[in-house]
Amino acid sequence: MLGNAARTISSTRPACRRGCLCAALVLATAWTPAQALDQNPTELSLDELANAQVTTAARKAQPLSKTSAAVYVISRETIRDSGATSIPELLRRVPGVQVQQLDASKWAVSIRGFNSRLNNKLLVLIDGRPVYDHTLSGVYWEAVALPLDEIERIEVIRGPGGALWGANAVNGVINIITRPATDTLGGLVRAGVGRVEKGFATARHGMALGENAFGRIYLRARNRDESERVSGGEADDDWEQQAGGFHLDWQLSADDTLSLQGDSYDLKADQSSLRIQLDPPARIPSHDATHFYGQNLLGRWVHRDRGAGEWTVQVFQDSTHHSELVYGVDSDTFDLDAQHRLALSPGQELTWGLGYRRIQSAISGPNLTTVRGDEPFDVTSLFVSDQLSFWDDALQLTLGVKWEDHELVGETVQPNIRVNRAVNEDWSLWAAWGKAVRTPARSELDVALLALSLPSGRPSPALLGFYITGNPGLEPERMKASELGLRWLASDKLSIDLALFQNRYEDLVVSTLGPQFVDPAQGILRQDFFPTNTGEATAQGLELALHWLPLDWWSLSLNYARISLRADLPTASQEASQEASLEGGTPREQAWLQNSFQLAEDWELALILRHRDGLSSSTRSLPSRTDLELNLGWQAAEQLHLGLSGRNLSDNDEPDVLGGQIRIERSLYLTARYEF
């Protein structure tokens, strides 16, 4: 919802705004010969400035965050230097995030387990607009067409976020925040060519539209070659994408900002699918040209009440189309949110908000029927979050709750309590407890789809049809999480961020096989797979992020995560195989190590090693995998940056996903960024 107002976690507020805190810092350092005054620059007088001894601070490994959550922020600079061509690639560096590339266009991204192409327990927002698909529950990453140059930062918050962001933020939230129009005046072109990444280009132009209005437009296109099958031959998964968008910011007054932004995209990706029919042959391998397109428009008004608080009102309309051989979805979402943040007293900040969302989706397909048709449904919500500070911010307590009423599912309540103790400037500890829910998708509630047909083995009816059918009585999945974290700024050159968690899931949706029955309407024997809330699971793990600057020209980041997931599903064979996939589908250990070298003033080299443990299901297993990535950057001229990037350089022969047939090839590409 309102992603980049009060609910963004990282704060850029100056460290020392209140006089008392400044005094405390001064007193603490009063006996060193020269004062390292951590002061707001505007509070320094000309005399002080003229006489001040200036120092160049050593690069800090990582600023110590005050949030009581497991947060990892990917900054604009990191994005620029990464050579990445998509957002999932950037997320690989975040501890506790599982990223697997499925084919040329598809990605599976999850936080703290349950990895699959459509991970339904992870909410992704771009400037407060969810890109989470409510019809099938999950994110189609290939349809997230926002150019990386538009992004100010990506905040990855692991752990339940339901108390602020609402349903489906079960295992985490990814907040993508775009740059304000005042930060992108002038022109930029980025283009690249490569062996697998055949070509990609982004162009952007930003301008002042008057004394108090600023805007920019962007265009993006990319084209990726098809992959190879493990069994040999082309995988028929090449894809192309075009997108365009705009962002306007009006500063109506010193205290009022109005923003309007919108995007439009079109994506065609090939894949191979099975056409299922009741008449023989029951399964026909087919070329499947999938097509995504969509538009969205978002408006936001922010009113700052100096000293008293901030009001934000946001409205968006989002239309998406997605079609494949088997099904198609057309969806329209309208959303209105209002939020108010106010300081109740110097040590207490209250944020509350109301939300209304209307979702209309039409699902269709050659062998698909729905009960509700395209009748829309509403979701209304209310949240309150209160942050209390004690002992000059050394102890912070945050209490939050969100109530949501989903027309198809009913009411849910998601509470959260967080506490942060800053022991001193170098150490802080935090703990959190919360509940979160995942609401069933439309497809799980009222859709029936023919998934497979076989000879029944009887004279009449001669065919057995397996259907995936919805269960209108399905309840939300529920999760309770306990978390503990530690942040340590060991020196200017070393920082450590550690998080421990335990998640308990109840009412997990399990696909259950019903009894066979004769369907007189179609004259077949029929058996249904339908979802039930019969699963339970427990996940526990730890995540570590370490930054070290051994030398001025060398920096090192190590991210490590370990997770153990134990699922408890009913004992029938169908469910047992789901249990094995759930437990074995998430790598037990993952590590990501980046070494960055400043080779010369204008040259940078980054070498990245990433490792994941093996994956397994009841029928298959994949060995562990280690990949090497490389980014070489050269600031060739003031306005021109050239880069060489290599991906999957260790060239693994296996797919990166269980049951996959496609091998992600070694790829090398050149990029040029020109600012004019």
Binding site: T12, P14, G19, C20, C22, A23, A24, V26, L27, A30, W31, T32, P33, A34, Q35, A36, L37, Q39, N40, P41, T42, L44, L46, E48, L49, A50, N51, A52, Q53, V54, T55, T56, A57, T182, D183, T184, L185, G186, G187, L188, G206, M207, A208, E211, N212, F214, Q251, A254, A637, E638, Q639, E675, F676
Partner: protein, 179 residues
């Protein structure tokens, strides 16, 4: 009744200790730069009709180049300079500088800097940079680190050409350059 020491305002106390204990403040270079940039808005007069003469509204500080002072610059964004709200605009060289009351140029390439100076010459834009030789080349303010102090050179002819008046409080702290 508990015995409490008399309450001395903590800032005053802190100030006394600072004065007693140390000869000079130590300030991070980028923070000092951000502080000077802020003060230029307090101590510069722009000509009539260039936004800053009317009351209220915005004072625009434009940044060109991949400026190294980023996090400290953020802290002056949105601050009040007199009755104006300071606003930071980041741009690439093809942008229009009409909106820029002040323009901080962080390019190492002299030809690129001179191209920008040529485009802004005569317009009421306060140009600033840390590049050596900037003031001599026609820029208004050049910052340099000299003997652990942040010093300024101000080209008063460029200042007049740009129709700006910088207060003597700032001029007195600067080395005057008249090429």
């Amino acid at each position: 009744m508990s015995l409490q020491p008399p309450r001395v305002p903590s800032l005053v106390l802190a100030g006394l200790i600072v004065l007693a204990a140390s000869p000079a403040l130590a300030i991070d270079l980028n923070k000092a730069l951000a502080a000077y940039l802020y003060h230029f808005f307090n101590f510069t007069r722009w000509p009539e009709g260039h936004g800053l003469t009317a009351s209220g509204g915005f004072a625009n500080l434009c940044l060109l180049g991949d400026t190294q002072i980023n996090p400290d610059i953020e802290s002056i964004d949105g601050q009040m300079a007199g009755d104006k709200t300071l606003r930071i605009l980041r741009m690439t060289p093809s942008a229009s500088f009409e909106q820029c009351h002040a323009l901080f140029i962080d390019y190492r390439s002299a030809s690129l800097r001179e191209g920008i100076l040529a485009r802004t010459r005569g317009s009421p834009t306060l140009t600033l940079s840390t590049a050596p030789g900037f003031a001599a080349a026609g820029g208004v303010v050049e910052f340099a680190r000299v003997d652990d102090r942040l010093r300024m050179k101000i080209n008063t002819r460029a200042m007049r050409d740009q129709q700006l008046k910088i207060s003597s409080k700032l001029l007195n702290l600067a080395e005057i350059v008249t090429p």
